[in-house]
């Protein structure tokens, strides 16, 4: 028996980013990100708008080619061995349209078949997912006519369908109503309890504080702080840490006087 060379044990690091850099024209969107996500963790990537969260995660999952650096998923290099890495990965990209001229069931079937799953397994899981996520098993509405919350939920269902070991979710709670958000949180927590790893980006402190075991704060294309929630937070609230790290501006009261 030979041991695969590239592979590191599953219970070590689920996702590892080394020196990721991305430039758009002249603007540097991501300026060297290093990040290690332990397997079995619930990892929240925080950052203000335009910090480079989406760009970083896109490079990590193989949707955007980095100018420099390396991304490894469960021991497989995303850019050198994409097939192996992508097979173990479920992704919910932000701001990306789904194939929205299909209805929910069709979309799930499409994703399952693309990943080479057996038709009967797809049917069974699709039925369960549609039922649990309250999208309606026999609903024939096209995804384009779904509400924002329903779109997030069907996107999540697509990412979960093939039972990946790592979930990368970009803004899973954006534009989602509280009821759906609670449902999504529930499912994700169950997934982590079952041994999966979740990496997600957000700028909602409460959600991150409630869910995550680990947190990283990203600003201006760099990781400012990273580690377990307790390490990052210390004895302050996460919001205080965030505002201090990012360097927010406090209002003096003299501007916007016409309000």
């Amino acid at each position: 028996m030979t041991v695969p060379l590239q592979r590191t044990p599953d219970d070590d690091v689920a996702m590892s980013l080394r020196g990721l850099v991305k430039r758009f024209d002249t603007k540097v969107a991501v300026a060297g990100v290093d990040l290690d996500v332990p397997a079995g963790s619930f990892y929240g990537v925080l950052g203000p708008n335009g910090a480079g969260k989406t760009t970083t995660l896109s490079m990590a999952v193989g949707l955007l080619r980095p100018d420099a650096g390396q991304a490894t998923i469960l021991g497989y290099d995303v850019w050198a061995d994409p097939a192996a890495a992508k097979a173990r990965l479920g992704v919910l990209p932000d701001g990306t349209r789904l194939f929205d001229r299909l209805n929910g069931a069709e979309l799930l079937a499409y994703n399952g078949l693309l990943r080479g799953m057996a038709p009967d397994v797809i049917d069974q899981r699709a039925r369960e997912l549609l039922d649990v996520l309250e999208l309606g098993v026999d609903n024939r509405t096209l995804v384009v006519d779904y509400s924002a919350g329903m779109k997030k939920k069907i996107g999540l269902a697509c990412a979960l369908l093939h039972g990946p070991r790592l979930l990368v979710l970009d803004e899973p709670f954006e534009a989602v109503d509280p009821v759906s958000a609670a449902l999504i949180r529930d499912i994700l927590q169950r997934y982590v309890t079952g041994g999966g790893t979740v990496v997600f980006s957000s700028h909602v402190m409460e959600v991150v504080e409630k869910l995550c075991s680990h947190v990283a704060i990203l600003a201006d294309g760099r990781i400012r702080v990273g580690g377990t929630l307790a390490e990052v937070r210390g004895d302050r609230s996460l919001e205080d840490v965030f505002v201090q790290v990012v360097g927010g501006r406090t209002s003096t009261g003299s501007e916007l006087a016409w309000l």
Partner: protein
């Protein structure tokens, strides 16, 4: 909070906005600048060529030629403005009316503004410069007064052209949105295309017999319709019929106002539609399994089958694709039939139809935008992706080609040619695919996410439309040997045509799809960002 009364928004604001969008679209992208420059080059050569051609009657000092040529050229221009956006280019909808829905603008301000913006652009400027030749002609024939009157006519003619193209594309896209109206729109377009037949008949018949009196009569009649009225003003003055000028001005102005009113009403519907979203009823189906609902019957239940099924559903469910499919069907049947009825070369137009089918795929990745990310994340291999897309489209196009071959051969009274003609069509289609598939990977561009299926983004988009023209030309040239062989070999070709065409087109497809597949394997993330709208 004080609400100040805003000064009236002038059309110039819209024009500036459009120019700014155009400029920003070009900024920082060498490729787009080059394509834009190519577009300008085409425009300039068109303008110079048109100007010289239309100046000929004046230079010849022949009033009769001018009276025939100017109205006919004007009518031709108007048809060009009407049909080219529908078939090839789309309209530049960088100023999407729906985006103005929330602004406190009156409908009149909005329409005049959008109209002014629509007249700013390469096609409009090209048209204006080309028709400048008419002013010169009129000046040489009838002196400065005729020249000034013709100038007014030329400007009004341009406005009429722009108004026609906007009104028709807008109405057509509004009609296409609801499924019920879709069939109506098909019929409308069919009837319009069919009307081209008699017109061609008249022109061709006149030209063939060199019966200039007949042509002159047609030209005079056209000069009294909105088609040519604007362009016959100067020659009327030169001929001493100045009394016609006010009447024709009324005809032209009334047409413009009527078209703008039509446009305005469809724009309003489009704006409301964009706000409320499509209403589709959610019916409960018999509980069929998810896979069974996705798959088109008869396809294998695997990755390839899923890709083909999804593509086929998209060709019918997505407005833009449906519009191009319907247009292809209508043009595909009517163009060759009207040509062969008129006794023109059916062979060449058949070539054109085969190649035209293929160029519908020129921006195939742009149709669904960054939804393509799902395929990238799933790691679909390039060749599978390309071949599944070609297969899905062919399942629509090949039956159409068979129908075209049959209908055209029967209309020409040569049913024995069906097989050979189908061979030529398939060869043209295959070669077209061979050229267009790599282009679709290399030169994909983001389409604006409006509901108008004919909308193009400004900047790179229209220029890349020219690339599709290049593909069309390439495919036609590549298929010419088939036509030549048909003429030279004679009767045996009736038997050889189909197999030879299948092999020839098939080979071209195999080479092109492999090239495209390998290209795609290397460029998946780049392609994804090219079709992502920023």
């Amino acid at each position: 909070m004080a609400v100040t009364t805003a000064p009236a928004v002038s059309p110039a604001t819209f024009v500036r906005l459009k120019l700014r969008i155009l400029g920003n679209g070009l900024r920082g992208s060498t490729g787009r600048v080059v394509l834009f420059a190519v577009g300008i080059l085409f425009g300039v050569s068109g303008a110079v060529g048109g100007f010289l051609l239309l100046a000929v009657p004046g230079l010849l000092d022949d009033r009769r030629v001018a009276e025939i040529m100017l109205p006919l050229a004007g009518a031709l221009l108007l048809f060009g403005w009407l049909f080219l956006p529908l078939i090839f280019f789309g309209v530049d909808e960088s100023l999407d009316p729906a985006r103005f829905a929330l602004l406190p603008l009156s409908r009149r301000t909005l329409i005049t503004g959008l109209f002014a913006a629509a007249t700013t652009g390469i096609p409009a400027i090209t048209t204006l410069l080309a028709t400048g030749g008419m002013v010169w002609s009129a000046g040489l024939l009838g002196g400065p007064v005729a020249a000034v009157v013709q100038l007014v006519g030329v400007v009004l003619g341009l406005l009429l052209c722009v108004a026609v193209s906007r009104a028709v594309t807008s109405a057509f896209s509004t009609a296409l949105r609801s499924r019920r109206a879709r069939d109506l729109a098909t019929i409308l377009l069919t009837v319009t295309a069919a009307l081209l037949g008699p017109l061609q008949l008249g022109v061709l018949a006149g030209a063939e017999r060199a019966d200039w009196d007949r042509v002159a009569q047609v030209a005079t009649v056209i000069g009294w319709t909105p088609l040519g009225a604007a362009y016959s003003l100067g020659t009327d003055v030169a001929a001493g019929r100045a009394w016609t000028v006010p009447i024709k001005l009324v005809i032209v102005l009334a047409s413009i106002v009527g078209l703008l009113a039509w446009w305005s009403s469809t724009v309003e519907r489009a704006m409301l539609g964009a706000a409320s979203g499509g209403q589709r009823t959610a019916k409960a189906s018999g509980s069929r399994s998810a896979v069974a609902r996705l798959m088109v019957r008869g396809l294998p239940q695997n990755r390839f089958g899923a890709l083909v099924s999804r593509e086929m559903r998209y060709w019918w469910r997505e407005t833009r694709r449906r519009a191009s499919l319907i247009t292809l069907g209508v043009v595909g049947v009517f163009l060759p039939v009207s040509m062969s009825i008129n006794g023109g070369g059916g062979g060449f137009t058949v070539l054109f139809v085969g190649a035209l089918g293929a160029i519908s795929l020129a921006n195939q990745f742009g149709f669904e935008g960054n939804a393509y990310a799902a395929n990238v994340v799933a790691g679909v291999p390039g060749r599978t992706e390309i071949q599944s897309r070609a297969a899905a489209f062919s399942l629509f196009v090949v039956p159409l080609l068979i129908m075209v071959a049959t209908v055209v051969s029967l209309a020409a009274g040569h049913p024995e040619d069906i097989a050979a003609r189908l061979g030529t069509l398939l060869a043209a289609y295959g070669i077209g695919l061979g050229v267009v598939l790599p282009v679709s990977v290399r030169a994909a561009y983001a389409l604006p996410s409006t509901s108008n299926p004919f909308a193009m983004s400004s900047g790179g988009g229209p220029a890349k439309g020219l690339l599709a023209m290049g593909v069309l030309l390439g495919a036609i040239v590549g298929t010419l040997p088939m036509l030549l062989a048909g003429y030279l070999i004679g009767d045996v070709w009736q038997w050889l045509g189909l197999p030879v065409g299948l092999i020839y087109g098939g080979l071209a497809y195999v080479v092109g799809s492999r090239l495209a597949g390998n290209l795609l394997d290397r460029r998946m993330p780049e392609l994804l960002s090219a079709v992502t709208q920023r």
